[in-house]
Amino acid sequence: MKTVEYVVADPLGLHARPAGLLVKKAAAYKSGVTLKNAETGRSADAKRIMGVMSLGVKKGNRIELSIEGEDEDTAAAELKAFLQENL
């Protein structure tokens, strides 16, 4: 399993647009991807939009992606880059 940690810099947090884009990206991998909001301890399947949005991730919140599966190395690297570019 690979873990990616990130602190959200976007002043608007993980709102609809970045949530939609993150889910689209995560869904493309064979690996399972779980998103956790470390501030609240709540987790959701990163391939489901409603779950991701329900975490209420705001600016300054630390989030963790847990990635497990055959393409976890690629997924971890690409999802990390996605977070840095979009959030």
């Binding site: 608007l12 709102h15 609809a16 489901r48 939009i49 949005m53």
Partner: protein, 161 residues
């Protein structure tokens, strides 16, 4: 037959318009997040007034801290997102009054959100409101109605379970 059996045997679910106004194709929404159906299939409502009602029975699964969007999960597992206006996340809650909390149970037609549409428009935001099914791939089909004027409570989406 218990409630659970009834739900299991249902073949279709409905989503109704949360507001009075005009129901148009979601493809007309000038924001690719919605117009290109990245968030799922649905419709968009051009609201005539600022009162928004629950589009189905369910649980408030998402309430944005910025109050401009609400997610409701129905007993059939349909995850409905109601997103009032475009880019309205930037208003940070201004002009929105919400009448529910995350995890509340709502009934179809409950008043859940009020928005001052004139004030939102005056700040340069569009008030067109996408109503969509976030988990569209979980269903056989999500069928929007044709473009028409609607009252709150009119069916706008048919979902084949």
């Amino acid at each position: 037959m218990g409630l659970f059996d009834k739900i299991l045997k249902k073949k279709e679910a409905e989503v109704v318009s949360p507001a009075a106004g005009r129901c148009v194709s979601i493809k007309k929404v000038p924001d690719p997040t919605f117009g290109e159906e990245i968030m799922g299939k649905g419709v968009a409502i051009e609201p005539a007034d600022g009162k928004f009602y629950a589009p189905a029975d369910g649980v408030v699964s998402t309430l944005f801290p910025t109050l401009h969007a609400i997610g409701i999960t129905t007993p059939e597992g349909v995850e409905i997102l109601l997103h009032v206006g475009l880019d309205t996340v930037k208003l940070n809650g201004k002009h929105f009054t919400v009448h529910v909390k995350q995890d509340d149970q709502v009934k179809k037609g409950d008043l859940i959100l009020e928005a001052d549409l004139a004030a939102i428009a005056a700040e340069g935001y569009q008030t067109i409101t996408p109503v969509l099914v976030c988990n569209t791939p979980d269903f056989k089909e999500v069928v929007p109605v044709a473009e028409k004027d609607v009252a709150a409570g009119d069916v706008v989406l048919q979902i084949k379970l």
